[in-house]
Amino acid sequence: MDTAESKKTPLYDEHVKMGAKIVSFAGFFMPLYYKSIIEEHLNVRNNSGIFDISHMGEITIKGKDSSTFVDYVFTADVSKIGQGEIVYSLILNEKGGIIDDVTVFKFSENEYMVVVNAANTQKDFSWIHYIQTEFQKKGKDVTIENISDGIGLLSVQGPKSRDLVYPLISGVVKIGKCGLFNFNFKPKQVRELKHFEFSCAEFKDVNIEALISRSGYTGEFGFEIFVPAEKTVILWNYLLKNSHLSNLLPVGLGARDTLRFEAALPLYGHELDETINPYDAGLEKYLSDSKDFIGKEALKNIKNKEKRLIFFKLSGKQIPRHSQRILDENLKPIGCIASGTYSPSNKFPIGSAYISDSCVNPSFLRNFFIDIRGNFEKAEVVLPPFHRNTKTISSK
């Protein structure tokens, strides 16, 4: 990505003021870390952390035929969820390859919001627009809008994140306007939200209304807060001013990656891309049996997994990196690294890899080697997640 084209989130100046190390990621200047990836990571596992994830994209889908539309575009049973609920889903191309992994928020039968990966916002919007055009030709009522630039998105994650959020919001819940959104149903109290439910939060003192969801990308209890772009700085500083409530630290993309990977959550461009199908990635549970969707026909012809995702740990200290080769015990190449990182919770390197050699049965694979710049480092297959007592296959 050319840094000259990178955009800034509403919080860019705040990151610079706090001394963050800034990198270009998915077309945005983003904080990689403020002080230390490891310290920020462990603070999310033990206390709480706040992330600027305003780079993520948001696309709204509205109109009488929205439910039919979302069920066709997304692989999961989207229209079946209730108002105020969220579902994780994939978007596939006609060949069954993964265009993106997303979350879909349901406001009503006629209104949804899709949260997409920053690097894919334009691609997803163009794809969804293409399908929408086909729908409109058949006289269906669906409109879509890319509202990403108008939204600041904060993520508050960690076991203590509730100690920060609950005291700072008023207990009022009402039907109607909520920041940029319009709730045509009575949302739950924020304290009563379960995982993958959303509501409206009114932040005291600063009088900011924002959509708040119980969701995240760390494997911890947490919230994501969708706030009007022009109010993002005020809300960010308000939450940080109250950091004593939950030992809150600002957290950059570096720890966002190590946290998501320990929790074995996939990252587009690493575990997922258009050459990988949902079976390869082990995401078949997000494919609906009860409806048609784009890519479903192609998936019927995929009898055997072409690749298979495995997770591993290393006994050495060198860190495996994306695209490095993996080799069997006779040093024959059998696949490639998807993600590799250092696990701050375990203090050893961990990773994921795709086995692409059809002669290798991943169920029987225990140990293999990774070619890390010419060093063959021994790896052991494990069952994720990595942040709660990682199990080796033999101890399963």
Partner: protein, 130 residues
């Protein structure tokens, strides 16, 4: 450990300096460690081995990246800082002291005059990395 004013820096961000016993040490600069972030692994050079100026002597790996370490001058490794095997974070905590890489013998002292002193290095960083 290294006497003030006796640090010299390479463009590749290694330092070399003399301690109070006139022994030379090498390490990576404070700027370099701050750019790398949390260091989790260092592949150290071999004691007894000689390296040419700008030759690769090791690797330093942080959570997000890996960089090569180069010899700032023609040198021979007298001993390595073996504490870095178990506590590589010393490079972040004290890059000019306890986080040094190795004690070395300088094989060509003229090489040192080609390096930057502290002030020149600060100017170099400011002009190349801002």
């Amino acid at each position: 450990m290294i006497k003030n004013g006796s640090f010299y820096f390479a463009k590749s961000h290694e330092w070399i300096g003399k301690d109070s016993n006139n022994k030379y040490h090498i390490g990576i600069s404070n700027f370099a460690q701050s750019e790398l972030g949390d260091v989790v692994y260092i592949s150290l050079p071999e004691a007894g081995k000689t390296y040419k100026k700008d030759g690769k002597i090791g690797e330093i790996e942080s959570v997000k990246s890996v960089s090569e370490i180069y010899a700032p001058v023609d040198l021979k490794i007298i001993s390595i800082n073996s504490k870095l095997n178990d506590t590589p974070e010393l490079v972040n905590q004290d890059p000019n002291g306890a986080g040094f890489i190795a004690e070395v013998e300088v094989l060509n002292t003229a090489d040192i005059s080609g390096l930057m002193d502290y002030n020149s290095y600060q100017t170099f960083i400011a002009s190349h990395h801002e």
